[in-house]
Structure formats: structure tokens, C-alpha cells
């Protein structure tokens, strides 16, 4: 017996659910032994004890090999990440024009935002905002160099913020772009408990970049699950040698990580967006949030009842996950996903990801094919891509391994276990409606399957997880499917949802009438769950 542990627990403590996974050394590699997801608020030790007991009961010989004695799971080493409630950032600028890119950048960088500009807010209201005990930081920015409409107001703005920062020394202050010149107004910044940080200016239309990275760094604590997700996505992209997009819809924020493998000796890269307004159920849902959930809901409730249910979902996100509650949850997840996509508009210009991975508590209780459908309903790009779910929620804990090589090795060992394949979705764009669009022949190991393609619906080919095939498309007209053309041969892999040919509009157009919309959403879902074409 060695002192080196042969198993450990990966723990992702979210605000709504706790996911625990047992990972053990089997033969010469690490494998996922088992996982469990429970409501937050349950006792973590009890959760791990149940996980250990189930693993030992399922395979006593494996338990012996892992030195896992009965009741001993709670003593295993833990790799733990946790989500933290987002803090509030006051975003301030000298003009409304300068404020917009700052807000766009801050709102995708892990902060809840409250905005004010000198031309739209009086100094008293601005001081009230900065002195509010719920505000934890202030981002004040200007163009670099400042524009003519900003220059006059910057001095007074700096004096106001410096006065508020003096009264609240714990406040984190970020001076972006041309505001950096006003650093002397803040006195001896080295003596304040709260940092005063200089940052680059925000870019209009491109909310990511160095300022977003800086704000993320300030927003997320070291062992934060959102931060680790970015590192995990990067390791996954490197191991698979694929462009990977990870989307998480959580209780307090939505997260999107886009990772690319290293090329030509360069290391892999990842870009991270953490959007608190893309949480599953925002704390105080306004009409826009409620209406967007209503758009995806098949439930047919009025706005007041829907808002009540969203508030309940916020208060007890683990509860009411059956029947209507499950439907509402998926509608809320789609709405959150669309808010997440809106906050990362610059990512639409990139090539689509080869693999999209869903993770987070919002998907934990949904049937796998409906998760795939929710993703392709919202994140619509012409092309072909694989979809998978991080069913045991171990990507974030693995991402928290500090050493990049060790992290990569662990992900390489676990890559077959951590992803449950949902299938491949092929989304051609530019088809003419109202007539047969062509056909697809899927050449699999067991034979060929031929399907006629009808625009506006979904076509499903049963392709189980672990299998692969070549799908040969022949379209009547020229369509966009990565490139433009009529004939395409695409290598596809199977999954719990099989191969889905999505011939609906890009972007998706839904009927205005709620009853028609509900019928359409239900028919698409039935296609994936029951295997009937819509």
C-alpha cells in the first residue's frame, strides 16, 4: 500500500447544486468512478459519503483496489471549486457615449453593473451610487485620448470619485483609458486596502480584450468555478486538438469559454466571459427577462405568473424540477443562454467551435437530447459541430489544477469519461422554404441511411454514442455549411441525441402567437426525444 492516494473527490460547489465526483486510479490512468449532484444546502460530507457508499456497493473489487473502505470517501483528498455571488461594480464615464462600451465590457467580466455618466446623472445621485454599501468596485473610463465631449467633465468626475474612494477605502477602483491621467487625485494609493488599478480603454463593439481580462481578474476569487472553467476548457481543447466552446448556465451567472488548441508549438488559448445577467433566474426579473423566458416557454402562463415562478426558481433553484418546473427551467436556460450570447457578440465572427460543451446545474436535470436542442436553438451558426455535456461537472475542478502539464494529463486521462456526447448537429443556412431541399446519406458501420431534407424542421439519424459515420449531403440549391456549396461530406460522431440535421432558419424565427410557438417548440423537442422528424 502506498501513501499516494488512489482516488480523490472533485467537488463543484455551486449556488444551486453541489456536484461531487469520485476519480480513481484504475490501471495506469485516472477514471471517473461515479458522480452525484445534490441541492446546495445539503451537507457536503453526507453527499460524499453517499457517493462513496454507492461506488463501493457497485463494484466492491474496485473499491478495494482504490483503498476505499466503507465510509472512507469523506477522508479522500478533494479538488474543490466553488461559485461565488457576483459583486456590484459602479461603471462611470463622462459621457453616455463613453459609458456604453465600458458597461458592455464590465457586464461580461463577472460583475453586476450599475451605470452612471455625468451627462445623464447628477453628481449627488452618482455619489449615492458610489457610497452604496452594495457596490464593491468602481470602473471609471474615458477614451484614450479622451474625446472632446469627455474632456471638460473628467476633472470633476475624478474629484467626485476620489472623494467617494477616500470615504470607502475598501472600494476597488479601475481607471481605464484616459482616466489614468487622473491617478494623482486618489492620493497615496499604496496605503488603501482597496486597489486602484490602471487599465486600457474599452473598445466599442468588442467587449472582450485586456480590460475585460483585468476586470475578470478582480471579480473572481482564486478557486472560483467560473475561472477554473476557462482553464479546463483550454486543457480540453489541447487534448482533443479541437476548438472548444464551453457554456455554463448557473444560478448567479452564465459563463462562456472559447478555447483553441496550441498550434506550431504555441500553447492553447482560452477566452472567458462571465455574465451575471445570464444567470438562470436573475434576482429581480424585469419585463424583458420575463418576456424572453415566455418566448421559449411552452407553459402558456401570463407575465405575472411567469415572474412568480422565476422568483421561486431564484429562491430555491433546486426545487420544482419536475413537470412544469422542468419545462420552465429549460425555457429559463434558453433565455439565459441568449443573454449570454448577446454579451459576447464578437465571438460570432470566429469560426464555429468543433465541440460545444454544456455544463452547470441548469442542465443537470434535463434529458440529454433536450440539452442539445436548447444549445442549437440559441447558439445558431451555419456549420457542423459536436455537442456534449459535462455530466459529472468535473471540468471546472480539473481546471483548478495549478500546473498546466498536470492539468492536461488529468484531462487526457478523463476525456472519455467527463463528456457525455449529445451528438452532431449539422445546420445548413440559406435554404429556400417550401420545397425539398435535397437529401443526406449517412454511411455508417452498419450500413447506409438516406433522408430527404425538408426546410424548416429537424431530421434525426440514430447514431449511438461512440459510433462515427460520414454524412454526404446533396442540396438542390447552394447553401452555407461552413463554406458555400451543394455537396458536402462531413464526418459525424454519435451521441445521446444522434445526428441532427437542423434545417430551421439561422437565426431561428418563432411565431408571434404563443400557442403556435408552444406547439412548434414541443414538436421539435418530441423529434429529439422520440425520434420523429419535425
Amino acid at each position: 500500500m502506498t501513501s499516494e492516494p488512489r482516488a480523490f473527490i472533485a467537488l463543484d460547489t455551486g449556488a444551486a447544486t453541489v456536484a461531487a465526483a469520485m476519480i480513481g486510479r484504475v490501471g495506469s490512468r485516472w477514471r471517473l468512478i461515479g458522480s452525484i449532484t445534490m441541492p446546495a444546502g445539503a451537507d457536503v460530507e453526507a453527499i460524499i459519503a453517499v457517493l462513496g457508499a454507492r461506488a463501493a456497493d457497485a463494484d466492491p473489487a474496485l473499491a478495494v483496489a482504490l483503498d476505499l473502505r466503507h465510509g472512507g470517501a469523506v477522508d479522500l483528498p478533494r479538488l474543490e471549486v466553488a461559485s461565488h455571488p457576483p459583486r456590484k461594480l459602479a461603471v462611470v464615464a463622462a459621457s453616455q457615449r463613453a459609458l456604453e462600451p465600458l458597461v458592455a465590457t464590465a457586464s461580461r467580466s463577472g460583475w453586476l453593473t450599475a451605470a452612471a455618466s455625468t451627462d445623464g446623472t447628477d453628481p449627488l445621485a452618482m455619489s449615492t451610487l458610489l457610497l452604496d454599501s452594495g457596490v464593491h468596485g468602481v470602473l471609471v473610463g474615458a477614451g484614450d485620448p479622451p474625446a472632446a465631449d469627455e474632456r471638460r467633465a473628467l476633472g470633476e468626475l475624478a474629484a467626485l470619485i476620489a472623494a467617494a474612494a477616500g470615504r470607502r477605502p475598501e472600494l476597488v477602483v479601475v481607471l481605464a483609458g484616459g482616466m489614468s491621467d487622473h491617478l494623482p487625485a486618489f492620493g497615496d494609493v499604496g496605503r488603501r486596502p482597496g486597489e486602484v488599478v490602471l487599465g486600457p480603454s474599452a473598445r466599442r463593439g468588442i467587449p472582450g480584450g485586456p480590460l475585460a481580462d483585468l476586470l475578470l481578474e478582480l471579480a473572481l476569487p482564486p478557486a472560483d468555478a467560473h475561472r477554473s472553467l476557462g482553464w479546463g476548457a483550454m486543457a480540453l481543447a489541447d487534448v482533443l486538438d479541437r476548438r472548444v466552446d464551453v457554456v455554463e448556465i448557473g444560478h448567479d451567472a452564465g459563463t462562456r469559454a472559447a478555447a483553441s488548441p496550441g498550434v506550431g508549438g504555441a500553447s492553447a488559448t482560452a477566452e472567458l466571459a462571465v455574465v451575471p445577467t445570464a444567470a438562470l433566474a436573475p434576482a429581480d426579473p424585469d419585463d424583458a427577462v420575463v418576456d424572453r423566458v415566455g418566448l421559449w416557454s411552452t407553459w402558456g402562463a401570463d407575465r405575472h405568473r411567469l415572474r412568480d415562478r422565476l422568483r421561486e426558481l431564484r429562491i430555491a433553484p433546486w426545487a420544482d424540477a419536475t413537470g412544469d418546473g422542468a419545462t420552465l427551467r429549460l425555457a429559463a436556460a434558453r433565455a439565459a443562454l441568449s443573454r449570454l450570447a448577446e454579451c459576447t457578440p464578437d465571438w460570432d465572427d470566429r469560426p464555429p467551435a468543433d465541440l460545444t460543451v454544456a455544463t452547470g446545474g441548469a442542465w443537470a436535470v434535463a434529458a440529454a437530447p433536450t440539452v442539445a436542442l436548447a444549445l442549437v436553438d440559441v447558439l445558431r451558426r451555419p456549420g457542423a459541430g459536436q455537442f456534449a455535456i459535462d455530466h459529472a461537472r468535473i471540468l471546472a475542478p480539473l481546471g483548478s489544477i495549478p500546473d498546466a502539464d498536470e492539468r492536461r494529463a488529468m484531462v487526457a486521462d478523463l476525456v472519455d469519461d467527463l463528456l457525455a456526447p449529445l451528438g452532431t448537429v449539422v445546420t445548413p443556412a440559406g435554404m429556400r422554404t417550401g420545397r425539398n431541399a435535397g437529401s443526406v446519406v449517412v454511411h455508417g458501420v452498419t450500413g447506409e441511411v438516406r433522408l430527404d431534407l425538408t426546410p424548416g424542421g429537424l431530421a434525426l439519424v440514430d447514431l449511438p454514442p461512440g459510433s462515427s459515420a460520414v454524412a454526404e449531403f446533396t442540396f438542390r440549391d447552394t447553401v452555407k455549411l461552413g463554406a458555400r456549396g451543394r455537396h458536402f461530406a462531413i464526418e459525424v460522431t454519435g451521441g445521446l441525441g444522434g445526428l441532427v440535421v437542423d434545417m430551421r432558419d439561422v437565426p431561428l424565427r418563432l411565431p408571434d402567437r404563443a400557442d403556435l410557438r408552444g406547439e412548434m417548440l414541443e414538436s421539435w423537442q418530441a423529434t429529439l426525444l422520440n425520434g420523429r422528424d419535425a
Partner: protein
Amino acid sequence: MSTADVRLVPARRLISAPVDALFALAPGDRALVAAGDSVVVGAPIAEMIRDPRLDEFDLPTDAEAPLPGSRWTGNNRRGTDGGPTGEYIFDWHGRWRVATGDITDALETPFAGIVREVRPGTGITIRAAGRGIRGIVALGGPTRGRLQLGADGELRSGGLDVGSAGTILVVGSRVDAETLTRARAMGVCGVVVAGLASKERRDFIGSEARQRAALHRLPPFAVLVLDGATRRPLAGAVRAVLAALAGFEVAIVTDPPMLVFDRPNLVIPPPPVDLVRIRAGAMSGREGQFITAIGPRRFPGGAHLEAGIVRLPDGTDAAIPLGDLERFV
């Protein structure tokens, strides 16, 4: 029943202690207490400016430069004892911006305690001498009154009478905005309710804002929501504590949303360890005995969820998702 099993049910704290309540201040408001002060029930702790404005003033040439947040006092007005007061906000080109106003209202502490922190323009934190029952949200302002138990179901406006003036009413499962505004008008100090629908919440907030904007304001009034937005009865454990507090003075504070009571001799026995409450689904609001965790089960909608067996008071057993249960600790 295994103790380990019931620990899989999400826990909710029945009684919170200590209670640190924050009373928010805006620029211009004047704190009347300092950190470390002991305050009694009803003691004024701040003067709140009604309609604050920002004025600009030059400092006299021989005056010492003030710090932002310090108090400003203007010249005496004819016929008054003192001049106008305000708060220095910031200095720009030698002219100070001062938050000031003409009318002030007194803010009183609804419970006794010790002032822990005073931050002008931000808030006053007081540690209450007592314990609290945490809610989901509290609307209105800090208030206090004698606790009075009302109907178990929904309270209608016609069910209110003037005899409830000066009380904090426990109204059961749900209440509408009309009843709340009528209660406020009749001198009721506050309402404790299990659920408040979004529409009623919005209507009441609008009514409260109009009332706060009026020249002659009514005394502070608060609504403490204990559970959520849908109709469900108060939890048995909470109801038992409230019943024990009936007839005694309690307070409602908004940050954190809480019912505060100072009854040091009141012994609150912990709820039975296996007592669980169903907070969602068809049996929402019912309580029972947790028997055992049974692992993943398939529920309507195709969801596979971790479940447990709950024995209801009528002797029947039901398999309930663990997420739909809660227990009090």
C-alpha cells in the same frame, strides 16, 4: 431513518443570531449615533433628508479644508437656532459640493442593540440584542410592533380592523396589495407573510413610494416575506416560534430581511431532526417525517432526481425529490 440520509435534505436556519442590521444612509443624512453606542428601542439614530440637493459653497479663506463626509453647517437663519446643515461631498476647483435639504425625518431603531459601525452616506450597522427569523425579502422601512397572529390562509382587506393598529400581523400564506395598503392606513406597523406574488409586490412598492413622497407620511410599515412568491402556508416550525412571540414587541428590518425579537428567556426547542417540509410540487406546504433517501427516481417531465421517502401526517408515504424538501436547523 439514517441521520446521514436526512442531511442530504437542504437545511434552512430557523433562528439567526447574532443579527447585524444595516440602516442605509444617503449623502446628506446625519447619523446621531457613533460606533460603540448602546441604543434602546425607538431611539433616533439618524436624520434623513427628504429631498436632498447638491449645493456649491466657497470655504472661507481661513477655514481648514474639510474631509468628504464631514458635516457642513451654514450660517444662522433669522428666527432659527442654527443654520442649515449638510454633508461635504467633494471639492472641485475650490468650491465644495454639499448635500443638503430643507426637511428631515428621524430614523428610529426598531430594536435595542449596540452600534457597530457608522459610515456617513452609506449606513449604520447595529447588532441587535436578540435573535431573528430570516425572510426572503422585506419591503418598506424598519418598523416595530406587537406581534399578532392572523388567519392561516389569505388575509383580505375586509378582514382588517382598527384593533390591529400598532401590531405586526402574521397573515399566513398570501396577501394582496390592497390589503397591505389598507393595513398601513389603519395603523398596522407591519405584515409577515409566507408568499407575496410579484404583481402584489410591484403594486405595494408603487404605493409605498407614493406614500413616502407625500408631505405627511404615515409611520414606517414593512412587509416581511418568509418563503417566496407563490401561495404556501407558513412552515410549522416558524409558526410555532411566531405563536410563542404573539403579544410581544418584535421588529422588522430590511437589510437583512428579518423579524427581530428580544426574548432572552424564550426557549425555542430545535425542530425534530427528521421533520421535513415540502416546498414545491403538488404537495407544497405539507410537512412530514423523512424516512430514507432512495437514490435517483424518475419523476414527471422525464427528470431523474435524487429522492427520499417522506411519511405524511395521515400515515401515507410519498417519494419526493430531495430538492423539493427542506428541513430547519
